[in-house]
């Protein structure tokens, strides 16, 4: 069975990091709709307005932690308050350069987060996690 396509959302206040993530996602050839946001509130709005995506595909979300205005944790907390039918479409990964123990263990408390990933995102890491989704 060939692995299917997925939607992707990247949330990172660094434009370069969004660019890198998008590039790597496109290189896998599995990105259906790939969106990146440098502000978490805008991503949240997008998720709410999308409701259930037209193409009925799951969405992989890569979320940075340290961002101004709304950080990764605040975003995840807001996301967890959304109705379940919306939440069910998403698989969240935290993608951060943080090596802070608190950040890493705090991620574990959020059941909606599948895994903590270290920056930089590489093709290898992404293929590995995508294999686990299939």
């Amino acid at each position: 069975m060939t692995p299917g396509n997925l939607n992707f959302i990247v949330i990172d206040d660094s434009k370069l990091d969004c660019f890198i993530a998008e590039k790597i996602i496109r290189n896998t050839g599995r990105g259906a709709v790939v969106k990146s946001f440098i502000m978490a509130p805008e991503a949240l709005e997008y998720i709410i307005s999308t409701n259930v995506p037209d193409n009925n595909l799951k969405t992989v979300m890569l979320v940075d932690i340290q961002m101004p205005i709304m950080n990764g944790f605040e975003f995840i907390e807001a996301f967890e308050k959304l109705p379940q039918p919306i939440r069910d479409n998403y698989i969240i990964y935290v993608l951060s350069s943080s090596i802070n123990e608190n950040d890493i263990s705090r991620v574990r408390y959020h059941t909606s987060v599948k895994q903590f990933l270290n920056k930089p995102l590489t093709s290898n890491t992404l293929s590995t996690i995508l294999e686990l989704i299939d």
């Binding site: 660094s14 370069l16 993530a21 590039k23 440098i38 502000m39 340290q66 101004p68 802070n100």
Partner: protein, 363 residues
């Protein structure tokens, strides 16, 4: 009237003659309070938290001195405790000293010299203890700041480095020259960001650790470098940069601190521009007048949301997702201004621009 610097001393004894004798002997040297039983003494301790030394007789009808000291130790830990006693009670005194309830003891009948020396020694110990408490508080504050600092360093220094690694990875796997060039352009920005952050750390430490170096300030000279630097950037980015200096009076201050303030404010005015408009401006107006300097930096850039205006001087606060901010610049400005006794005022309208006004008195 009592002089405020006299040490406040509390003496407790059930014999009125001793109390009066004590007061008569020491009232000129110390701010003496007396109590004829420990219940009265407790009331006085509650009322006067500035009591530094307590001298207490051992043999009293309701409670011994040792018992009293043991009782008050946890509630009033600061005053230094001195016991007055005869030889017959020596066992209980030794026990009490070993438990840490008593700093000194004076044997009965006391001489003025004994009492004076005990009070002076107690006072020194009191001062050393209070200093230690103060230092501990300072240390705790410094640790908190260090924690915040270390956390941010992983983000602000490791972040750009990880971006670079990611970008290198993409370029290595690409054969498309124009894509590689795009990536290089982004890598350049990332390196500049890291360098800016390192410079801010340098400023932070020169502000924290540095002593003020006061000299005569010629503002035309101070802004010369700044002008050269930013007029080039202005040409490249189509920002009209004007500097206007009016200085007829002498002004004394720290040149390095002033440069940190001006640099950060001007750099911000350049950074937070609206990229899509024609007629971008940054103005710097400097006026020295009646022993004050007024620095006004005005731009017609993105502005600051009302709700964030009060937070912009906090360490690592960023009111925008625009990549260029480190959240360090205005914190350093505020820090420099505190040292120069200066003030800063912000007026800003979102999508119209921001004006910072700084007033610094001459030293």
């Amino acid at each position: 009237m009592e002089k405020p610097e006299r040490i406040r001393v509390l003496y407790i004894d059930d014999e009125i003659n001793n109390l009066n004798g004590f007061k008569a002997s020491f009232r000129l040297d110390y701010n003496v309070m007396i109590a004829s039983d420990t219940a009265d003494a407790l009331v006085m301790l509650e009322k006067h938290p500035d009591i530094r030394v307590i001298l207490c007789d051992q043999r009293m009808p309701t409670q011994t001195g040792v018992q009293f000291f043991e009782q008050i130790r946890s509630q009033h830990p600061l005053p230094i405790r001195v016991l007055i006693t005869g030889y017959t009670d020596i066992e209980s005194v030794i026990d009490s000293i070993n438990k840490g309830n008593i700093f000194r003891y004076i044997k009965k009948p006391w001489t003025d010299t004994d009492v004076k020396s005990a009070i002076e020694e107690s006072n020194k110990f009191y001062i050393a203890n209070s200093l230690l408490t103060l230092k501990n508080e300072e240390l705790e504050k410094a640790y908190l700041e260090l924690d915040k600092f270390a956390y941010s360093v992983t983000h602000d220094m490791r972040g750009p480095l990880m971006s670079l690694l990611g970008a290198i990875d993409i370029s290595k796997n690409s054969d498309d020259i124009s894509e590689i060039k795009d990536t290089l352009g982004m890598m350049e920005k990332s390196v500049q960001k890291l360098d800016d952050f390192i410079k801010s750390i340098h400023e932070y430490y020169s502000l924290k650790r540095g002593q003020l170096q006061i000299s005569e300030i010629n503002f035309k000279e101070v802004v010369a470098d700044l002008y050269d630097l930013y007029s080039i950037a202005g040409k490249l980015e189509h920002i009209n940069f004007t500097v206007n200096v009016v200085q007829n009076d002498l002004f004394r201050s720290d040149a390095v601190f002033l440069k940190i303030i001006l640099n950060n404010l001007v750099a911000n005015a350049f950074k937070f521009q609206r990229h899509d408009i024609v007629g971008k401006i940054v103005d710097l107006n400097i006026t020295v007048h009646k022993g004050n300097v007024e620095l006004i930096v005005r731009d017609n850039g993105i502005g600051i949301k009302n709700e964030y205006v009060n937070d912009i001087f906090k360490m690592f606060f960023r009111a925008t997702s625009s990549e260029i901010g480190s959240g360090f610049g205005l914190y350093n400005v505020k820090d420099a201004l505190t040292k120069l006794n200066g003030e800063i005022f912000v007026t800003s309208t979102l999508n119209e621009g921001t004006t910072f006004k700084v007033i610094i008195p001459s030293k």
